[in-house]
């Protein structure tokens, strides 16, 4: 199964260590692979270092693809994380 979606970084700090770590944790919990694309840059969502090197400040739009058995659940939970700004206090 494959799910694609566009997500926008909404939290003030952008994809920093803490938010990137939350994404990695989320991927670990599910049976699916996650890919992020920004421009020509494509990385896998299970690597905190790759997520950091993507350098995404607030407002960045990302194309996200989840592949695997849990793809839909993973995408739903990921969307929720992005929507809630990674629990960052504003």
């Amino acid at each position: 199964m494959e799910v694609k979606k566009k997500l926008k970084v909404k939290n003030n700090l952008g994809l920093h260590a803490r938010s990137a770590a939350m994404i990695v944790e989320l991927v670990k919990k599910h049976n699916a692979k996650l890919y992020f694309r920004k421009g020509d840059h494509i990385i896998e969502g299970d690597s905190i270092l790759s997520l950091l090197t993507l350098a995404c400040p607030k407002g960045t739009e990302l194309e996200v693809k989840a592949v695997g058995e849990d793809a839909q659940v993973l995408m739903d939970e990921l969307t929720d994380l992005f929507e809630k700004g990674f629990g960052e206090l504003s």
């Binding site: 260590a17 770590a21 990695v24 690597s47 905190i48 270092l49 790759s50 950091l52 090197t53 350098a55």
Partner: protein, 593 residues
Amino acid sequence: MSVGKRIELKGIPVSPGIIIGKAHIIDRSKIKVPLRKIDKKDVPYEIERFKKAVETAKNQLSELKDRLPDRLKEHAFILDSHMMILNDSMLYDATINRIKEKEINAEWALKESFEEIKNLFSQIEDPYISERINDVENVVQRILRNLMGHTQNEIFDIGEKSIVVAQDLSPADTAGLDAKKVMGFITDGGGITSHTAILARALELPAIMGLCHATNQIEDGNILIVDGDTGKVIVNPDDDDILYYRDKRAQRERLRSFVLKEANKPAITLDGHRIRVMANTEFLNEIYGLKELGAEGIGLYRTEFQYLSHSGIPTEEELFKEYKKAAQVMAPDPVIIRTLDIGGDKFKGEFSQINETNPALGLRAIRFCLKNIHIFRSQLKAILMASAYGNVQIMLPLISSVDEVLEANKIINDIKRELNKENIAYNPDTKVGIILEVPSSVMIADLLAHHVDFFSIGTNDLIQYTLAIDRTNKEVAYLYDPFHPSIIRMIKEIIKRGKEYKIPVSICGEMAGDPLCVPLLITLGMRQLSMNPRIIPFIKKLIRSISVKELKKDVKKILSFNTSEEIRSYMLVSMKELFPEIDAIGDYFYMQG
């Protein structure tokens, strides 16, 4: 009581507080990594060795996490992220692949993986992300020590209560330290946004980083004074030092407790006036700590340092890099950059021949810049280029006539056209303001207002020029007085003109951070203050306890006084009533002097 030579060192203060104690040196020198070719048949063994070292590292970090004291639990994520890095494909898988493909030892393969990550991180512009490379390095060093059979030399092995001195500390080190034994720490490397600095502040342990050679200059057991407020370390202090710092420590402890906690809340007077409190700053390093002190922008960014620390004039690129970083760190809050405010006498090389009998009235600041257009242009271009990365504004110093503003505006417009042609990004609406610090400019504030976006009052020079006194001249320095009725009248006039022509007025001289002046300034209508960052939490607290409505009637009285002494004592009495802590703040403030 002290043995050994007294030495003073200066570093970056990353966590405030004053401590006096014995040095405990921790050897954390980076490990020299050997390169070895291995036989193909040994590859599986080498990979196993690497996996084991990573596994051990994971157990060590997990143990450190368990030892984390309760008040640090919220920082456990730092250790979690270290554990995550351990198994990250860019580090873990990449190293295993290197061992396989290149048939080399695990240490070297790991080092190469790290170099590659480091290279990627160095291209990231956001300093908060690019500095995370330090976390990766900490993790790599830990694996290396495990691979090579070095002990981890954890910091919790310290015997007696002492000040930790190290080349560098990892967050794991800081988290693992026993707060009962460690009084604080100082390191050769590191910076204010590192996790170690964040942890130090959370633990409320004074810390100074970036001391460069502290580990060479300090010996185990030396007595140290560490002033985390200023970044000063005294090795082998004398008795006077110790008395002075004991006293200073007692004073600051009393104050700290009641103000720092609220530093980040806005400064709103009792009757609802919101005051923007900004910082005066000079070094890029300071900037990272400003938000924590509650600064809502940089109201005065002094730019002279880059010119003075250089043997020649800095390049456009060097200036741009610095301004851009400042803009990014402070965004969306403003960074108001003052263009070069010195004269030729301060430069080495081409201008050093200029000899003036009265430099304060000589060829300096805007005058120097308009005479040396190439220097001015390259700075303005750097500022405009940085404007694409945050809320950057230009502020021209020592303006005394409209002509100077027109000339500067023309140059700025020229540069904008140039940037358009070169297709370089900048903010076309970058605000350009002036510092009112020459009495003539105050008299023609209405004329100037047509050509600028904002006024900032530079009280230090305004007082000096208005009262005709040289502050550095001991014979007349006592005449320097912010409460001189002429100064109060001038400020009132400028605020009035600002309102009339609808341009913002701020104040960036020492008066802006003087607890006795602030209530008066606010009542006169000032809504933006820029000051020494360390006084910000105190001034914000003070603003929250005054009411403009209440003070209005005092102002009328103040404006009728004939002497500065009357004004000062009136302010002192009325402020003591409203804000009993003012004495303590005053002490703290004047102590900085």
